[in-house]
Amino acid sequence: MKLIVNGQALEIDASTLAELLAALDYEGDWLATAVNSDLVHKTKRAEFQLSDGDRIEILSPMAGG
């Protein structure tokens, strides 16, 4: 499946958001996810079906002013 993850185009075998995170070695309860500009709660990642061309954002805490 072709996906855009944090701005980068990827070809990857993952049908759900949880599978995508595992395939890319993302792990931790400090991560937040959005698909096509909408939040996907951590409790919904396992059931969230991805589609070709989806844009995924994976964010984590960072310094800010």
């Binding site: 937040a32 909408d38 994976i58 984590s60 002013g65």
Partner: protein
């Protein structure tokens, strides 16, 4: 003590966490400032990376309240989604709402700000809107459900200090009961003291401390300035006069001629 949205805060200084020379200096600066609220952000995590975990662990060790921001967002949609992601990660409904309207000045897009504030307030957020010193915009933000305001005193990171004291005075006068935190553009402790003397409830700053030659010393200085400004405001300052008035009593002075 500062009562804000049902929370008692020991300090009226809010401190940003960006641009410090090292995580250790950030931690020392937070402690030296006496701040009880630090601002944080969300950014893209690299695949397999643990940067976010390290930073999050450091922030939690500080023992302060956390005010996440939506820095870098240029649209209502970006800001709203970022706020929702921040609520999930940081476990707080407080959000410093930034909707930036200009790349050069980092001036807020006040129209988008009001729209985003309404969406987030309706969704249960406690919105701290980064705004200008415009009274009408402030009214719209309050109508949208905001219970606090964060007017700028100068562009972000400029260190100019309060460039329009008249506008800030006017804001304080028009909204005497709204908690207002002056955010952005402070460069020196005297700037912080000046806005606190006007009766603002708190200040938020980052660059002036983080980029100082000695961030820990500067953090301590800002903490003292905020306290001094607040105490001065509460103590009733003398208004300026156009004539000299002797401070030493004139009655009983010696006459030698």
């Amino acid at each position: 003590m500062f009562e804000l949205l049902g929370t008692t805060l020991p300090s009226r200084l809010f401190l940003g966490t960006a641009q410090y020379p090292s995580p250790a200096i950030l931690a020392d600066a937070v402690q030296a400032s006496g701040t009880s609220v630090v601002t944080v952000s969300l950014r893209r995590e690299m695949a397999g990376g643990r940067d976010g975990e390290k930073f999050w662990s450091l922030i939690r060790s500080l023992g302060t309240r956390i005010l996440p921001n939506t820095a870098g967002c240029h649209s209502v949609k970006e800001a709203v989604t970022t706020a929702k992601m921040a609520r999930e990660v940081f476990g707080t409904s407080w959000i410093k709402l930034e909707v930036i309207g200009n790349h050069d000045t980092l001036q807020p897009d006040v129209f988008g700000l009001v729209e985003a504030a309404r969406i987030l307030c309706d969704d249960g957020f406690a919105v701290f809107p980064y705004t200008t010193d415009d009274l009408v915009v402030a009214e719209r933000l309050l109508e949208a459900g905001c219970q606090t305001l964060m007017p700028w005193c100068a562009p972000i990171g400029s260190a100019l200090g309060p460039v329009n004291l008249t506008a800030l005075r006017s804001m304080r006068k028009h909204f005497p009961d709204v908690p207002m935190i002056v955010d952005a553009g402070l460069g020196r402790p005297s700037h912080a003291a000046t806005v606190m003397e006007l009766g603002f409830d708190a200040v938020l700053l980052n660059t002036a401390v983080a980029r100082a030659a000695d961030p820990v010393g500067m953090a301590r200085a800002f903490g003292k300035a905020v306290d001094a400004g607040r105490e001065a405001f509460l103590s009733g300052m003398l208004e300026p006069r156009d004539v000299a008035v002797p401070s030493t009593p004139t009655i009983g002075r010696a006459v030698f001629s």
